[in-house]
């Protein structure tokens, strides 16, 4: 489904991605771990060509995203959903308009068909009552849910999540993670999740990779990574476990 080959990206000489390569199989949930500033979000943005990598290939559904023309890229993007860190809801539009926006622009649907899809995704994220609200009237968790609903409304085959639980309390964070996994099953999607939230990763991940210094330093099952004796992983996950436990105490 997704093949990343030797991806490089630097900003003004500062190397952010240094030969990143990995594959994601169909319907697999891959989690990308890493400390802040290790290039997790850059990796995700390169995958959907919001940023152009310096070198390397991103192959999605057999198409090399770097070689596509704008029209072909937009066609492929219809099959890809992206949940931004802050949900990125359009401030000037109501929840309904936010959800309808990708449908109006990309599909020739009747108003009845659009209403059905809107109701379906709002039901999936349990926010039917928010349909006429403006984004400014929603809490952080609600915004994430609506952002998630907007991402899956086009029935994408691949979902990319950029820190889906950042800024949320542990309970809401767990709810969002569970919601993600429910939607993955309901819509039969493949996903790549960038996070540093161990609890979220434990719920979602089939497999995980750890980024450090622009390279993949570990790859495998989440439990194996957490219990690894590798000093770098031990150090990274001990902090995360501490944060997780701290969250539980609170």
């Amino acid at each position: 489904m997704v093949e990343i080959k030797d991806l490089h990206k630097n900003f003004d000489g500062n190397v952010v991605l240094d030969g990143v390569s990995f594959n994601v199989a169909e319907t697999e949930n891959m989690v990308v771990f890493g400390r802040s500033g290790t290039g997790k979000s850059v990796l995700l943005k390169c995958m959907i060509r919001l940023m152009q990598p310096d070198s390397g290939d991103v192959i999605i559904q057999g198409q090399n995203i770097r070689e596509l023309k704008v029209r072909e890229l937009n066609e492929l993007r219809k099959d890809i959903g992206f949940l931004f860190q802050g949900a990125a809801l359009y401030d000037s539009m109501s929840v309904k308009e936010n959800l309808e926006f990708p449908l109006i622009r990309n599909f020739k649907l009747t108003q009845i068909e659009m209403d059905k899809r809107v109701s379906k995704v709002l039901e999936a994220v349990s926010l039917e009552e928010a349909i006429n609200k403006m984004p400014s009237e929603l809490s952080g968790g609600m915004r994430k849910r609506i952002g998630l609903a907007r991402s899956v409304i086009t029935n994408p085959k691949l979902m990319l999540y950029d820190e889906p639980t950042t800024g949320l309390d542990p309970i809401t964070s767990k709810e969002i993670s569970s919601l993600i996994i429910d939607l993955e099953h309901a819509f039969n999607m493949t996903s790549v999740v960038v996070t540093h939230d161990l609890l979220c990763a434990k719920i979602i991940a089939d497999r995980a990779i750890v980024l450090s210094g622009g390279k993949i330093v570990a790859e495998g099952d989440i439990e194996n990574l957490v219990t690894s004796e590798d000093p770098l992983l031990k150090n990274f996950f001990s902090d995360e476990i501490f944060e997780e436990n701290n969250g539980r105490v609170q």
């Binding site: 959907i48 919001l50 993007r77 931004f84 401030d91 990708p102």
Partner: protein, 246 residues
């Protein structure tokens, strides 16, 4: 910045002719921007007309030329004060708004979200706004000129016994084609400047909320300065094209 703004304007000229044409968005922005600016430019126009008439009245009286007051006021408002004052107020109100709105959309990743949705954000956000500002400013300018003339008439009535019909007759008699058309036409350029500078500053904003603030402020400063520079160039061009106004 100049190179960036030039590239951005070139991109606008390239994108503006490519369908789909976002007619609904253009109409929405024209109404929104026009309605938002209408009260402030109206008040400003009224005061400018009133003040100019009050200032000119004693000067013309000194030379025994009070009869030329409506004509002098009319020419100065139609040729220069109406278009430029309206454009500067419009820049302050609209360019900063566009800069802040697009800047905020940029830093909160709404523009990226639009791109990911398969929508061309430049066409949807920039082209529509710049098109709207380019075509709404001339309409606002005609309105400002009319309001300013009302202001001027009130000032004239305070010192002279003159009817509105006579005042307007004198204004129309004095203001030639070569005054009115270039005066209003240059506001298409001013409208474009207001839109493109605000959009450029907002669209390229970075560094979070600080960047949004900077985009908003510098939009006003740059667009106001460019309006005055282009006014200078356009006045020279006008005098060359319509030598009758010499």
């Amino acid at each position: 910045m100049i190179a960036g703004l030039f590239k951005f304007s070139f991109k606008f000229l390239k994108e503006v002719f490519i369908p789909p044409y976002e007619v609904d968005q253009i109409r929405k922005h024209m109404i929104e921007l026009g309605m938002k600016t209408l009260p402030i430019v109206g008040v400003t126009g009224f005061i400018i007309g009133l003040v100019i008439a009050m200032q000119l009245s004693p000067v013309l009286k000194r030379f025994g030329a009070e009869a030329f007051l409506p004509g002098s006021v009319g020419i100065s408002i139609v040729r220069e004060l109406g278009p430029v004052i309206c454009a500067l107020i419009f820049a302050g109100r609209v360019s900063s708004g566009i800069g802040a709105e697009l800047g905020s959309m940029r830093v909160t990743e709404q523009i990226d979200a639009m791109e990911v949705s398969g929508v061309n954000p430049f066409r949807y956000l920039v082209v529509t706004r710049v098109f709207a500002t380019t075509f709404i400013l001339p309409i606002l300018t005609v309105y400002v000129i009319f309001i300013a003339l009302i202001g001027a008439y009130i000032a004239v009535v305070l010192v002279q016994n003159m009817t509105w019909a006579y005042f307007m007759d004198r204004v129309i008699f004095s203001v030639e084609f070569g005054d009115a058309i270039p005066g209003v036409s240059k506001t298409f350029v001013f409208g474009f400047i207001v839109g493109i500078v605000g959009a450029y500053k907002g669209y390229t904003a970075e560094n979070g909320t600080e960047g949004v603030g900077k985009a908003s402020t510098s939009s006003v400063v740059v667009s106001s300065l460019l309006i005055l520079i282009f006014d200078m160039v356009l006045v020279k061009l006008t005098l060359w094209l319509w030598p009758t106004v010499k």
